[in-house]
Symmetry: C2
Subunit: 193 residues, 2 copies
């Protein structure tokens, strides 16, 4: 897939970019195609890249008491980065790994900030992308807060039906905040009396 087409997709789905901005973006970004399980960010690093998923998917996870907790999924058409690090210039708690063979558009933090300052349209794109994430997190807080394991699972299926097909149950379990065993029981229709 040509880089122009990818940038056009971004421009269409997030915020319209001017030709000059698209051109600047094109010059400063590059396409990566990586294997499943490749790690594009590792815990402790300063995450100085932003990625746009062209094809495939990724998950961000962190370790809590030695357990792998999935905190975020990103698939085609979505941006992904270690947000704790990218926005605060601190070492990240996250590792981001690819769930499938994946094609990414890679943009450096430096580029993002430069384009953000130079082009109003790119700032807008950033604002819209961040707003989208904020609203998604908001709904997640509401879902996690006072719902049963079954309800949280149902909420996820409704919000992102594709995830179930593409992600291991282990990761879905930690994403919605239940143990793998509980998730397995929930999914068994007998459980729902």
């Amino acid at each position: 897939m040509y880089i122009e087409k990818i940038i056009e997709t971004i421009s269409t789905s997030y915020a319209t970019l001017t030709e000059e901005c698209k051109d600047d973006l094109k010059k400063a970004s590059k396409i990566l195609t990586l294997d499943k399980e490749a790690k594009i960010v590792k815990e402790g690093q300063f995450a100085d890249k932003l990625y746009f998923v062209v094809r495939g998917g990724a998950r961000a996870y962190y370790l809590k008491n030695g357990k792998d907790i999935t905190d975020w999924f990103a698939f085609e058409g979505e941006f992904v980065s270690a947000i704790d690090s990218f926005f605060q210039d601190s070492p990240t708690m996250y590792t981001i790994e690819l769930l499938e063979p994946t094609t990414l558009l890679q943009i450096s933090r430096e580029t993002v900030f430069a384009l953000t300052n130079k082009h109003h349209c790119f700032e807008k794109l950033g604002r819209i992308a961040v707003t989208k994430t904020m609203l998604e997190l908001q709904e997640r807080v509401v879902s996690i807060q006072f719902e049963s394991a079954l309800q949280k699972y149902t909420n996820l299926i409704n919000a992102r039906p594709d995830i179930i097909q593409r992600v291991q149950l282990t990761h879905i379990a930690s994403y919605i905040g239940v143990t793998l065993e509980t998730l397995s029981r929930i999914r068994n229709p007998k459980y729902r009396i």
Copy 2:
């Protein structure tokens, strides 16, 4: 407090605004001083206002199975709105009520969007404010997800020590996702053996 000074505070703490932008903002916004318990947004409304808290505080809550769940606090120097409605132009699930006698700067959604399009600096301010909220929500998801009631309470105290003095325990309990009774027990030192 003069409106110029409030806008200057915003400009200093979020993103520097040009004189023209500050002027436009000044013309289109107004100061409100309201009593404790006043509701600035009600469930079911289209929230067409954004507020900046000059003095005082507010909480956003929603009803779940008849129970009042606090979802957000805002105090001096923070923006507050019914974000589900404000950004998606849909009726809100939230009611926002003042916790104290409060002074607010009120800005209409129309103004926000107009200034966002007209001034790059205002777009930037929006991006920064939204990013701040996004990161806060992110930490909240992590805190809620796999922590005990005591840990969640401790996290909140560390993140916002002022809240405990200014907000009822009932609201703090629902904010961190535990019952009032559990919160009360947690706060009793005897409980922690």
